[in-house]
Each structure stands twice: as C-alpha cells, then as structure tokens.
C-alpha cells in the first residue's frame, strides 16, 4: 500500500506517524462495558483534537472538509494501525450530523452540532417490535399538548442507546392519513423523565443495542425536525447517510484490515497453500470492488448524479464482502476462533474472528436488510413491478 506513486503519500505518512504516537494499544483489554465506553470517549476526543474525527463534515468544522482521497487514506491507515472504530460516536457523527445538517433548523444546528464534537452521543430510535423492515408501521405515539409533545411507546435495537445523551426519534402524530404521512421526527433528551433503557444481550456476548421505553416523555415543540407529518422524509436523510456515506469509511477500513487476514495466514503457516491464496486473492478483489463502488457512489452523489438504488448496491456489496472476510478468518483461525472473548465490540477487527463473523450480520440486517435492499434494486432501480399492497391468503 505504501507506494512511490501514491499521490497521498504525504498525508498518509502524517496519519501513520500520528497513529504510532496516539493509537490506544490496549483497547481490546476492556473487561467491562464501562471501560470500553470510557476508552471510546477518550479515543474520540483525541481524534477530534487531531482533526481526524469528522473528515466528512464540511470545512467550517475543525478537521472537516477533507477530500475523498484524504478520507480514504485516513480510514485505511486507522484500520491498518489496528485502531478501534468509533462505535459510540457512529450515530452522532453520521446519522445525527446528516439529519441536522440537511433538515435541522439553524437553532438546532447551532445547539447540537458543536456538542457532538465535545463528545455528546446520539442513538437512533426508529425500529419497534412491530416496525422493522416495515419502518413506516411505527406506532410510538406523539401527542401535541401546548408547547410539548407527549411520547408513549417502545423502541428496539437502538445501538448504544444505554450510553446516549440524545435520540433521533421517529414517532406517530396521526393515525388518520397514510402510514408515512402520520410520522414526525424529534430530537429527544435521553435523560428526560419517562425514558427507560434496557440493554439487549447479543449473540457475540456484547450489549451493543438496547430497548427504549417511553412513558409520557415530554419533548418541547422546538425539538421537532421539519413539520408535523414530515417525519418520513427526514428519516430518509438519516437512512441515506447510513446506507451511503458510512460505506466509504467501512470499505476502506476493510481494505486496511486485509492485513489481519494476511497476518493470520502467516501465523497459521498457510502461506503456501494454493487454495488459501486463491481465497485471499478473491477476497482482495471483492474488497477492492467495494472500495471502487463506494468511490463511484460518493463521486456521483457529490455531482448530483446519485440514482435510486445506488446506495443499496454499495451496502449489499459491502455486507457480502464483510461476511466473506470474517468467514475466511473463522476458517483459517480454526479452534483459536472458537474460544470466547468476554467483550468484543470491534466490528471487523475485534480480535476474535468468530465474533467478527457474528458481527457481520449487523450489516446484512441493520439499516434495511439485504432482502429489503434487493427489493429496492429490483423494483426502483430496475423497474420490476412492485409488490401489490393488498393481499389475501389463497
């Protein structure tokens, strides 16, 4: 990867040098969730200071306004240096930022965006027990009473909600109109009376997401994003950041993390095994294709050429490559991959291949499942007829 022809050589070596000095070496040793969260906060603050935390924000923010080429180098280097991903601030720096930036009013932007850099974290309160893939079926109620909305209902699968200061909340203000038209978007204080959060135990041993119970929670009208009934449109801004913008970081991180597979191949002495080399070569091609797709996607988006379904293509290509990456790790890891580690928060570099493999399901299910993306591609990109709305059992 280091190459005399690399036009980003200067910024690459700058990041590399910084990482040598500042990368937390012990982040995998966190034995409790609290310790993990503390190390995440610490790492985020360091990256903010260095101007590496929010390269995708506009230039008015310190560390923002970086070119796509610089961003790629940064993500790749972070992964090769084995730095932890910013799981705790993922929703605040992508989802909350995109939503506020595109749909928030000036007051909301001025209040919340700077606080994100100071470490305030957000969670996303969209999904409910009855509203998963069918997000528009959200039932959580928001009733206007004077200057406040009163919220009652339940949210689920909300990533890091147990540590979040604020929540991007999608709730129902009307049951009269079409499903989508009755939704409204709010910025909710997670410390407000009536908010209860219960972490959910996941298959890889973590408690990455949580349930949120809302019992007569009051949200001031000033915390509404957009007008009443425009929640669906605002939610699209949130989701499109999840399906598009994040994928460049993830793609280039995966590219950087190929070195983990290479290390593993050497460690288990399979470097002359032709079958393993082929699978590694094929994986390299698959990951490179994801990076090329993400590049193309962002370039089109910046030039106003993005088309419906483009983000779905990138997301599915990524989630498949991630599955293949972690599956190869599990296969090569043999028994070593089968031993449990207590806490593995870490996405594609937790240090435990089986945990990474289980984590890869996050990307085939969350943010619109693989099947839902296929529907979008087939129906909205390729013009195949849409599923009839009404159905009866034959």
């Amino acid at each position: 990867m280091s190459n005399v022809n690399d036009p980003q050589a200067a910024s690459r070596s700058e990041v590399r040098q910084w990482l040598v000095e500042h990368r937390p070496a012990d982040w995998r040793d966190a034995a409790t969730h609290e310790a993990f969260v503390a190390s995440q906060r610490n790492w985020f603050a360091k990256l903010v200071d260095a101007g590496y935390a929010i390269p995708h924000w506009p230039a008015q923010w310190p560390g923002g306004g970086r070119s796509l080429a610089e961003q790629k180098v940064l993500y790749e280097e972070l992964a090769s240096a084995d730095a932890p991903r910013l799981l705790l601030s993922f929703v605040s720096t992508y989802h909350a930022f995109a939503t506020l930036h595109e749909c928030g009013n000036d007051n909301q932007k001025a209040r919340y965006l700077p606080r994100i850099l100071e470490g305030e974290t957000w969670c996303q309160g969209f999904s409910e027990p009855g509203a998963g893939s069918d997000l528009a079926a959200v039932r959580c109620r928001a009733e206007r009473k004077g200057d406040v909305y009163v919220i009652n209902g339940q949210k689920v699968w909300s990533t890091m909600a147990q540590y979040a200061d604020r929540c991007l909340l999608l709730a129902r203000t009307s049951t009269e109109s079409a499903k989508q038209a009755g939704l409204t978007y709010f910025l909710m204080d997670m410390k407000a009376p009536g908010v209860t959060v219960r972490p959910i135990h996941q298959i890889q041993g973590d408690e990455e997401f949580a349930e949120i119970f809302l019992d007569n929670v009051e949200i001031p009208v000033s915390e509404r994003v957009g007008e009443e009934g425009q929640g669906w449109a605002v939610a699209q801004a949130t989701l499109s950041s999840e399906r598009g913008l994040t994928l460049m970081e993830l793609g280039y991180r995966m590219r950087g993390a190929l070195s983990r597979v290479a290390d593993l191949i050497n460690t288990v002495a399979r470097h002359d095994d032709e079958g393993v080399l082929r699978d590694f070569g094929a994986l390299t091609g698959q990951v490179e294709a994801v990076c090329a797709l993400a590049d193309q996607f962002l370039e089109n988006r910046m030039n106003g050429l993005e088309q419906i379904g483009d983000a779905s293509v990138v997301k599915n290509a990524y989630s498949r490559a991630l599955r293949a990456y972690s599956a190869l790790g599990v296969r090569l890891g043999g028994m070593a991959a089968q031993y449990r580690t207590p806490i593995t928060y870490g996405d594609l570099n937790s240090g435990n291949w089986m945990a990474d493999f289980m984590n890869s399901y996050a990307w085939t299910i969350a943010g619109g499942s693989e099947e839902v993306q296929r529907n979008i591609i087939a129906e909205r990109m390729l013009g195949m007829p849409r599923e009839p709305k009404n159905w009866v059992l034959a």
Partner: protein, 322 residues
Amino acid sequence: MMISREELRDSARKGLGSDGLMPPADQSWERLVEMGWFAMAVPEDHGGLGLGPEALAAVHIELGRALVPGPAIAQMLAIDVLCSVPDFAARDELLGAAIGGQRLGLSLALHQAGTLTCVPDADQASQMLVLGPDRIALADIASASQNATWDETRRLFDVEIAGQTVIANGADAHDAYIRALSRLLLALSADAVGGADAVLDMSIEYLKTRRQFDRPLALFQALKHRVADMKIAVVAAEALLWSRTGDAVSLHDLAALKALATTSFCRVAEEAVQLHGGIGLTVEHPCHRFLKRAYLNAALGGDADHWNGFAGRVALGQQKSN
C-alpha cells in the same frame, strides 16, 4: 488526446449497435477498421490516437455487450506489442497493415510452450507474434487447424509456425510481455462486464413480459432478488474495472479484476439461462451465446484459480512488507 468514456461508449454503441447481437464477423471487422479502433491505443507518433486503457475498456465492453465475433482482442494486443517493442525493420509496415485490418495472429492462452493454441482466426493470418516473458518473436504460420469452441463468436486455432525472427529480448521483451498480459486481462474483463450487463438487461425484460399465474414473472420476489444480486455483481465488476484503467496499474491489480469480472459474467449468464426457462435452452434464443462466451472468457488468459492465487500471493507479500 482526450475523449471521455461516455463519448467512446456512445460512438462504439452507434458503430456496432445497429447491427444487433452477434453481427456477421466480416461486417463488424470492417466497422472496427473504419472507426479506426485498431489505431486507438497506438501512440500518436506512430499515427494512432494515443488513447489509454480506459478507451480500450470502453470498446471491449461494447464488443462484449453485442457479442461481436472475431479476433479483436488478439489484434489489439498484437498492435500494442508492435508499438511497445524496440524498432525493427518491418515494424511500420506490419503496424500499418494491422491497423488497416490485416489479421496478425497471437495466442490468447496463458502458457505458450509447444504447439501454440488459442490463436484466433489464424487461418486468415500469415504471421503471428509469439510472446514469452523474455522473448518476443515474429513467426510465419505454417499450418493452422481450428479447434472449435462452444462459443461460436471466437474461432480458435492450434498453430504450427515456421521461421521466427526475435524482435525483443531480455528486459524489453519482459516489459512488453507484462504489458500485453495486463491488457489481455483488461480486455477479457471488459468484454465480460459488457456481456454480463447485456444478458442481465435481457433477463429483466423477459421477466417483465413473460406471464405465468396471471401475473408477470417479475412480480415474484424469489426472482427479483436473484436479479438484484446479478445487478450488484455487474455494477461491482464495472466499478472495479474503471478503477483499474489508470496508467500505474500493476499486473496483480488486473489479476484480481480478471478473476472477479469473468466469474461474475459466468454467474450472471448462468442465472439468465435459468430465468428464461425452456426458451433459454434453445439455440434461437441468445442466452446461451452469453453463457458460452462467459465461460470461454473465464478460461482464456488464465482462469480465476490462477489469477486469484497470483493476486493472493502478491497481496500477502505486500502486507508483509508494510
């Protein structure tokens, strides 16, 4: 000279598209000559257009999309080799004739020991280039016998050669050889992307029009999802292709591309036959032509196992040295 990817694509489509799928070989060969495509990658000081790999890719995509028959890949490679070896007496004459459409043979097989195999249209060529990692020769074709492939858009021959003149040795030959190999991988990958895209479009159209159970087949989600996966494979292969058309691209970058693009074309063409049902198994329907071209593309110039293994070995070495 700067011509955008879109301009190239449009002019290629205009030139070839009007002839439909699998146009007659002679007719499309004449078009390729008329449109000056064999001069496309030739440097300007040799009388060419001096266009780079991106232009080549754009043209090969269209050749694949329309299943254009003929030895275009071999011809373009031979021309490229003539331009990249040191000057020799007959070079300009040979080059001019080849640009004008006179067939110059070249093997599309990866390993070229003993009998030369996979030489397209060798019966119509009197000479061929014999490429090796440290030796490039110009040879007379003594005899050529066709070894018919399932893919009827290519005619491949086993060739016996007579006299040979070495035109490059050592480092010169090596550079030209690696360059030719890289371009072969790029051309086959682009052909695969074009073919995959076309057969996918055809399948979508078919599913939208064919009705069973009182509804278009396209309404069945089991089929939509397969089509969506085909689309993802094609778009990913194409994105990777365009990211590999720069000037500083090395052989192992193209190795992974060749494996990925030709494998994707195979998968997409297989699905296309299945999605067409019985009609997909008839010779009247073009589906099978894509399937056969896909598999031939996968086999020519080294298969996916070979190139994935190569890419894996290089990537492993690179990670170590970092």
